[in-house]
Structures are given as C-alpha cells and as structure tokens.
C-alpha cells in the first residue's frame, strides 16, 4: 500500500490538519491510490495526454480593456473579512518577531 507524507502534503495545500486528521487521511488516501493502480492495466506508455476535451473552442475575445464590466473596488472590498478603503488587509507576510 502507498504511503503518503500527509503532513508535508498538508503544508503544501495550506491546511493545518490535526494529528488525528493526518492519520486518518493517510489511510484513506493510500486506499484511493491503490485503487488508482487499475490504470496500469491500460498500458498507457505511448498514449498522448488529453487536457482539453474538444479540439476547438470559440476564438478568444478581443484583448481590450472593458472597464464597464469590472466591479467597482468598493464592491469587491466589501466582501473581505478585513479591508481598508483601498486594500485587503492581512497579517504580516514576513514574521519579524
């Protein structure tokens, strides 16, 4: 069975998992990854990866500014847990203690 360093993955994913959650997730993820091994039977070495299901999409829209379709700054900031008149506010990015 696969083993996963759940604590490392949780740090990458920016989730402060508890010890109990880490242990449980480790077992559940290993079971899922074992199931995923069924893909090995397909023999995919020479296959071309597919990332878009359709060959063509609509042409991109013109790359021109469209201020009318932008939300006013005050409307956007009103949703923030903490903001002043111009910016989202966050705790220190660099811990200087």
């Amino acid at each position: 069975m696969a083993t996963i360093d759940v604590r490392h993955v949780a740090l990458l994913a920016r989730i402060a998992l508890s010890e109990a959650e880490s242990e449980r997730m480790g077992k559940e993820l290993a079971a899922i990854l074992d199931y995923v091994k069924t893909l090995d039977a397909l023999g995919l070495e020479d296959e071309t990866p597919l990332s878009h299901v359709h060959d063509t999409f609509a042409p991109p829209r013109p790359d021109t500014p469209d201020p009318a379709s932008c939300l006013p700054r005050a409307v956007v900031l009103a949703q923030a847990p903490l903001a002043d008149d111009t910016s989202f506010l966050v705790p220190p990015v660099v811990d200087t203690r």
């Binding site: 996963i4 759940v6 993955v9 949780a10 740090l11 990458l12 994913a13 920016r14 989730i15 402060a16 998992l17 508890s18 959650e21 997730m25 559940e28 993820l29 079971a31 899922i32 990854l33 199931y35 995923v36 091994k37 069924t38 893909l39 039977a41 397909l42 995919l44 296959e47 071309t48 990866p49 597919l50 990332s51 878009h52 299901v53 359709h54 999409f57 609509a58 042409p59 991109p60 829209r61 939300l71 409307v75 956007v76 949703q79 923030a80 847990p81 903490l82 989202f88 966050v90 705790p91 220190p92 990015v93 660099v94 811990d95």
Partner: protein, 486 residues
C-alpha cells in the same frame, strides 16, 4: 385534466403566463406552499427567497421560454445579492456581486428563481452528506440520500417546489441524483452551458446541468440557457438549441440506434436497476429504435482517472479560499497561518481529502505517475467512448449501480462513495452529453434510472430518446409523486 399548479409542466406554466391566463404570483405561491410542507422532511434549500428572484431589468429574450417558471438553483451558482455558499462554511455569508450567465439567461427568459439548493460541499460528493449545512433527504424514502452533489435541486423538482432546477456536474452530480428521485438529469456537452459564475471545482469537467420531470421541459431549459458566452473561454461557439425544431413526438426515436455495453451490466448491478435497463431497451425497440451491443473499457478506469484529475484541478481551484478576499477568516499571527487555519476551520473532511489527494498527485516526483498518467488515460477513455458511438446515435446503460442508499451507509468509506458514480464519470472525462431518465421503481418504491450518452452537441438526440420513452412507458404528467411523511 386540471391539476394543482405545482404539478404543471414548465412548458404549460410558461405558455399560460405568457398568454396572460395565469399570474406569476399564483404560480410562485403554489410552489412555495409545497416547499413549506416538504422542507422540514427533506431540507432541499439553503436559501429560499420569498416571492422568488424575479427578472429585474434584464433585456428580455426574443422568445421567452420560461415566463413565470419556478426554478431552483444549486448553491454553487452565483446570484447577485443572494448568498452563495457552495455548501461550505468557508463561504458562509458570501453574497456575490454578480449573476452567473445561466442565472442571467433564466431571468431574461422570465423564470423566477425560488431558492438556492443544498449540495455536497463544493459539489464534492454523491449524497449531500458532505454539505456544511446538513444532509438533504430523498422524498421517496427520507431515511435515504437524494444523491449528490446536486441533491437539493433534485429534491426540489421531485417534490414540486420547483418546476425545473439547475445543478452542476463534474462526475455525475446531476444524473445520479436524478436517477434516485424519478427525474431526468442532463449533463450537457462540455462547453454547452456557460461556466461563468459557477464556482469552480474541476474546470476541465465542470458543467451546469438541468433537472426536469419531462423531456420537453429539460429541452426547453437547455434552449433558454445554451448559446455561446464570451465570458467563458471554454464556451462552445454556435447557437442555442432550437426548441421549436425539436421533434419530441411519438416517433422521436424511430430510426435511431442505441448501443448497449453488456459487459457493464454484470456483477454488482442491483436487480431492479438491471430490470429498468431491460424495460427501457424493450420500450426503445417498440418505439422503432434499434438496440445493438457495443464494448467499452471497464468503468473502474473512469473512476481512477477521475479521482486523480478532478482532485488535482480542485487543489488548484480551491487555493482561492484563503481568508483574504471573502468568506471565513481564522485568527492568525502571520499570513501563512492565516491560510492554514482558515482552510482547516472552513473546509469539511471530503474537501480536505480531495485537496490533499490533488496536491499529492501534482507534487514533485509524483506528477508523471499520477496526474500525467491520468491525462493519458483520459485520452484512451474518450477515444473508447467515441469508438463505441460509431454506428450508434447514443449509448444506453444504468446511471448508478444501485437505487438510493441509506444516509450514513457510505459516509465512512470514501472509495465506496466514489464508486456510486462509476457509470456517470465517463461522459465527464470525454466531454460528452449524457441524460439520465427514469426507468421505473424497485419493489420498495425507490426510483431507478438509466442514461443515454451521445456525441458532442447532440443533446437533441438525448431528449428525443427520452421523449420516446415517455410515450411508451409513462406520461410525465401522471408521474408517481413522493408521499410526504406525516
């Protein structure tokens, strides 16, 4: 024959409202009464809007298809001024400043949005048990799940508190609950309906879907909402489905060929679901369609591929929920802890599980073994489905291997829960349209469903086949309604 307003079709409501024979207020009130009676038993809604969200200054469509039609919408579609939670505590209190394109188009067609429906958190689940705001219940047996993730929307239409509803699909989240609640559930071609304003889970598969009680009503909604949207870069070019040109009469399936992958109908398939498949095959033949056998890769490969790709995309999409711009924020001394503590407090267990799996599948040293391999498998699966469709107009197989399961039955076994989507995921991986249709009931009174899958942009064939079944098997207006518990 006259029937209560809440049992009327969307088509009848729209035509009578448009002609002035019916007042929108009366329609809305009749549906609200149903919601009030059922909600304590089923919990379909997260937000109900008294009187409904009415069209408000939107330029009306040239031919309005949904005048006065009460529509429920899944709570991962943005509604201007009305809370949108995605069933997650991390978005509690979030009120979008704009409408999703499909919401705008509903309004332009005169529809009334009656409320926002319950879902598995961020549409991740198959039962609504992963909702941060309680589980919805199946109206045909309230000890069972309604399916998911769009379970609330299914319950709304099945009980009659809405005439039609919108859900969303990434791996079967409209078709599976439709099959559990005696409804039609459409997953359109990828790109057919705009994703603008649909909160992203796995962007290469996400698609807005439609619940209806008849083929005609489903096609009507698709016609109203489809057509290119410049705000979604993956929106397909081309016009909307032409509702008036669609033949849904008795001969709708005459001359069509339907492929059945017999190997899928073996072990693990519930007897009543297998019987539903047999009944539908016989009805199609009676309707003048031809049924032939086709072969497909084992659907276990669909599940394995899906749970790598969808989780990888989710791990990236859900990075935006970080406590900075909207929603929940946990107290923290520095910004890294702000992200970590907010996400720990705001996400439920299944969302964390999928973010972790996706992060792992994309991480250095594992990318080729998991994500890269799954992308190759996706190509193989799409080619396999398209090969099976050569010489057929549609494929036919069950929507889910069982009828609705008990609440709690699979809650502690993520893999068992994932396998309840085993038959639906192929269409999402391949970007093809698929429609679940009712296929009768079990001896215990639970609905079962089967699904049709067609080539890209051929939703018309799906609804023609569904209409032919209605003519052969049962008039949707004489449907078996669930009985409210006393």
């Amino acid at each position: 024959m006259s029937r209560p307003l809440w049992q009327e079709s969307a088509g009848t409501i729209a035509e009578r409202v448009e002609s002035g024979a019916l007042a929108v207020d009366d329609v809305v009130r009749a549906h609200e009464e149903v919601a009030e009676a059922w909600e304590p038993h089923v919990h379909a809604y997260l937000t109900r809007v008294k009187g409904g969200i009415r069209p408000n200054g939107e330029a009306p469509a040239k031919r309005k298809l949904l005048s006065g039609v009460p529509v429920a919408i899944k709570d991962n579609l943005c509604t201007q001024g009305v809370a949108t939670t995605c069933g997650s505590r991390i978005l509690e209190g979030y009120v979008p400043p704009y409408d999703a394109t499909v919401v705008k188009r509903l309004k332009a067609h005169g529809a009334v949005i009656v409320g926002k429906t319950n879902l598995d958190e961020f549409a991740m689940g198959s039962s609504t048990e992963n909702s941060g705001f309680g589980t919805s219940r199946n109206p045909y047996d309230v000890t069972r799940v309604p399916g998911g993730s769009s379970g609330g929307s299914a319950v709304a239409v099945a009980t009659g508190s809405a005439a039609v509803a919108l859900g969303s699909e990434t791996g079967g989240s409209v078709r599976q609950p439709a099959s559990f609640t005696n409804l039609l559930g459409l997953k359109p071609t990828y790109g057919r309906l705009s994703r603008y304003g649909l909160v992203a889970f796995a962007s290469s598969m996400d698609q807005v879907g439609i619940f209806s009680r008849s083929a005609s009503d489903g096609a009507r909604v698709l016609a109203a909402l489809s057509g290119h949207d410049p705000l979604d870069a993956t929106s397909l070019p081309g016009p909307a489905l032409d509702f008036d040109a669609l033949d849904l009469g008795e001969g709708a399936a005459r001359g069509l060929t339907v492929g059945v992958p017999r190997a899928l109908l073996g072990e693990g398939l519930d007897d009543d679901v297998a019987e539903g498949q047999r009944i539908v095959e016989a009805a199609l033949q009676a309707a003048g369609a031809t049924v032939r056998e086709v072969t497909l890769l084992p659907p276990s490969s669909w599940v394995a591929t899906y749970y790598l790709l969808a989780t990888a995309e989710a791990s990236s999409n859900l990075a935006r929920f970080d406590g900075v711009r909207y929603g929940l924020r946990a107290p923290a001394k520095n910004v890294l802890d702000l992200y970590r503590e907010t996400r720990e407090a705001g996400f439920g267990a299944e969302v964390k599980r999928r973010i972790l799996l996706g992060t792992y599948a994309l991480s250095a040293g594992y990318y080729d073994a998991y994500y890269g391999k799954a992308q190759k498998a996706r190509r193989r699966i799409q080619e396999d489905l398209l090969a099976a469709l050569e010489g057929c107009d549609a494929l036919l197989f069950p929507t889910a291997p069982t009828p609705a399961f008990k609440i709690g039955e699979k809650a502690d076994d993520p893999l068992a829960m994932y396998l309840s989507d085993i038959f639906t995921i192929g269409a999402n991986l391949a970007g093809l349209p698929a429609l679940s249709v009712p296929a009768g009931f079990t001896g215990g009174g639970l609905p079962v469903g089967v699904q049709f899958t067609a080539r890209a942009a051929r939703e018309d064939l799906l609804y023609r086949l569904a209409a032919a079944l209605e003519h052969q098997l049962s008039d949707p207006l004489e449907r078996r309604w669930p009985t409210k518990p006393s």
